[in-house]
């Protein structure tokens, strides 16, 4: 199967390891992976901060770049939710064939765990990662895309991985994109609660399907010198006994 990787601008720039892990995982599962080089950003930051016009320009670009692919995989619940949920609304008031492009592209965009389970039909990806891991179901993955237990199913089948329940898992980490700098006090307090819960559950690794949220919680885990690492779901699933 030939899939296009939408790596996302955050992963491209700050977390290339997640992109590499996604490529290696998909190839291991028999997919032919393409990276359309013209891709940049889904426009979420602009739209959600109130810069709709800039956001729409980026969204138009996204639909043009990915229009010709059968399936698009994004290692980010938030960016996938942006395309699938917010693009149709953005397109409602726009002309120039944007609505048609969205109707065509949006349903083909999958978050990684959705693609693995719903499209490829795989729940055991043959990974090995002998560590204590807890999973934070980020808001847009949980309440936007409704990933449900897909990531947990995948993690549950990783050799050696001990999955620890995260108290208050469904509560937001306080990132919220520009919310984290526009309301930094509330954001940091939400983050601190998340960090406390991560420490309480005794995990060595905090995993999520979104690096932006992980970057936020990880930033405080690091500042507080907790020793807990952050890892994107793709990076854990890409690990095998050989690596």
């Amino acid at each position: 199967m030939r899939v296009a990787l939408f790596v996302t601008c955050v992963n491209d720039t700050l977390f290339p390891g997640t992109g590499r892990a996604t490529v290696s995982l998909l190839r291991r599962l028999g997919c032919e992976v393409d990276f359309p080089a013209a891709q940049t950003c889904c426009g979420q930051m602009h739209v959600n901060t109130g810069y709709r016009d800039e956001g729409v320009r980026l969204a138009r670009r996204f639909t043009e770049v990915f229009r010709d692919y059968d399936a698009v995989v994004a290692p980010s619940g938030s960016c996938a939710a942006m395309v699938r949920e917010q693009y149709p609304r953005l397109a409602a008031g726009e002309g120039g064939g944007f609505a048609e492009a969205v109707a065509e592209v949006a349903p083909k965009v999958h978050e990684l765990s959705e693609f693995l389970i719903d499209v490829l039909g795989v729940t055991d990806v043959g990974a090995s990662f002998p560590h204590r891991v807890t999973y934070h179901p980020t808001c847009h993955s949980l309440r936007g895309l409704r990933l449900g237990d897909r990531p947990l199913t995948l993690l549950g089948n990783v050799r050696g991985l001990e999955l620890l329940p995260l108290p208050g898992a469904e509560e937001c980490c306080g990132f919220g994109g520009t919310f984290s700098v526009k309301n930094p006090e509330v954001s940091a307090a939400m983050c601190a609660a998340k960090v406390d819960n991560v420490l309480d559950c005794g995990a060595e690794v905090l995993c999520a399907a979104d690096n932006s949220c992980l970057m936020h919680v990880g930033g405080m885990l690091g500042r507080r010198k907790t020793g807990v690492r952050i890892m994107h779901l793709a990076e854990i699933l890409a690990r095998t006994e050989a690596t």
């Binding site: 700050l14 990276f35 080089a37 602009h46 959600n48 320009r57 936007g144 509560e171 937001c172 990880g218």
Partner: protein, 472 residues
């Protein structure tokens, strides 16, 4: 009377100059407030979740609630006229108020006509929205709040901070102090040696209020619902104090927002299931009072209030906020409300619903109102619990697009937009960042310090993903 002009009340909210961020940051300095809020919101949140989960048809009920409200709003003119006719036929008097000033004027004249200078009040959001108590006080009329929590707020010279539990920011020790120090100025004093046991506090309030109920000739209420086909008013409350006000006085004046109308009795059935489970986490509401017009010897006035609502109705995205039944489920699940507290929102409508309702009702002219659409991480917990499926994140994003943006942010966003509009530009910027990666300090100056004060920055990797892809 002794209490006149004492309360700060909601009207003081208006024009609050500071932004939500500043209000929230200040509230977070109060550790006791934080504990009170956390305990209260998490308790109600849990109760709600349990009684919602037990209903197999919750999703259908919610959809029915949404559909009834949308239908009614679409034909609001028709149902309001039908309501007016039915109320009038049943012996009530209907008044139309375009804004807060007009409503306050109408109510004040109605009270004056009775010759009374004291009125008792049923817990009501809308009379706080228009600053009725303050207006009455300025005209020599004292309004006595009779809802337990509103009483605590009024005696404490305080503001409500939650829709359902206005004194959520107070714990029982604080309430004891307020009762002990302030009750005497408003009527019967608190008993000697009052403890902070909930039963003792409730008894003190009961004795204090009972005297007031029996002596008052005029009551003012809001309403949760109005039934157009019969002209029936519905008040949903937990204490029975509202029913005292609705039945004992000779004159009852109800001020109700025009969006509260429902077409038929059958529609009410849906909301009497949705509301108690969403708000108090109860299966059934304890005191549901309904009345139609006026009985012999009593007078009933209905003041129908617009105060910005038709403007909201004209907005295709924002109008869904008018579906709100004031259950406050969105407040109880909101991680931002939990930290910031209700006062930070500077309005009688705090929390997520306030963040979309307040800027629509009173515009975004002030710094505070302009900042309210940003008082959310867009986590979506509010939408999930809303019994009428108001997509609060969607409206927040829409309002953000209409907000005034700071100049520096505008420039940064424009620059980011330019950079991301072309992969070659993005690539060059990434390579520059990689080259400078060792020079980026752990703590950044200026606005970026908002992040680095409490969180490390992620490390810039040795190469971007796209460079790796091209190379491999």
């Amino acid at each position: 009377m002794s209490g006149a002009g004492r309360g700060r009340g909601s009207v003081t909210f208006i024009g609050m100059p500071r932004s939500f961020r500043e209000n929230a940051a200040e509230a977070m300095q109060d550790a006791q407030l934080g504990r009170n809020l956390r305990k209260a919101t998490h308790t109600i949140r849990g109760k709600r979740a349990r009684v919602v989960e037990e209903l197999p048809d919750w999703a259908e009920l919610r959809e029915a609630g949404r559909a009834v409200k949308d239908h009614t709003l679409r034909h609001l003119d028709r149902y309001l006229l039908q309501l007016e006719e039915a109320v009038t036929r049943a012996g009530g008097h209907v008044h139309w108020a375009a804004d807060a000033d007009e409503a306050n004027r109408i109510v004040t004249e109605l009270v004056r006509a009775t010759g009374e200078s004291d009125v008792v009040k049923v817990k009501s959001m809308v009379t706080q929205e228009i600053g009725l108590n303050e207006h009455l006080a300025a005209h020599g009329i004292t309004a006595y709040e009779t809802d337990l929590a509103e009483l605590i707020v009024q005696l404490g010279d305080d503001w409500p901070s939650h829709i359902l539990v206005p004194a959520i920011h107070r714990n029982r020790t604080e309430i004891r102090e307020i009762f002990r120090d302030r009750m005497a100025a408003w009527g019967r004093p608190a008993p000697e040696g009052l403890s902070d046991e909930p039963a003792a506090l409730a008894e003190a309030a009961r004795l204090h209020l009972r005297e007031r109920f029996l002596s008052s000739k005029v009551a003012i209420s809001g309403a949760n619902f109005m039934i157009a086909e019969t002209g029936t008013m519905v008040v949903v409350e937990s204490e029975g104090n509202g029913r005292m006000c609705l039945t004992l006085p000779e004159t009852l004046i109800s001020v109700v927002g025009i969006e509260k109308v429902l077409p038929t009795w059958r529609d009410l059935e849906v909301f009497l299931q949705l509301l108690p489970r969403s708000s108090t986490g109860e299966r059934m509401n304890p005191y549901t009072s309904m009345w139609t017009g006026a009985t012999e010897g009593q007078r009933f006035h209905l003041v129908l209030l617009d105060n910005g609502r038709t403007g909201v109705l004209a907005d295709e995205v924002g109008r869904q906020a008018l579906r709100c039944i004031r259950c406050s489920a969105c407040l109880n699940v909101c991680p931002v409300y939990e930290r910031a507290g209700g006062h930070a929102y500077g309005s009688v409508y705090p929390g997520p619903i306030g963040a979309i309702l307040t800027p629509q009702l009173r515009g975004m002219g002030s710094e505070l109102d302009n900042s309210l659409p940003y008082a959310s991480s867009l986590c979506g917990a509010c939408l999930e619990v809303c019994p009428v499926a108001i997509d609060i994140p969607e409206v927040l994003v829409e309002l953000r697009a209409r907000a005034r943006h700071p100049r520096s942010e505008r420039m940064a966003m424009r620059a980011a937009g330019w950079l991301l509009a072309d992969q070659a530009r993005l690539s060059r910027a990434q390579r520059l960042a990689v080259r400078l990666r060792r020079l980026i300090p752990r703590r950044l100056p200026g606005p970026a310090s908002a992040w680095t004060d409490t969180r490390d920055l992620p490390e810039i990797p040795e190469e971007s993903f796209r460079d790796w892809w091209e190379r491999s």
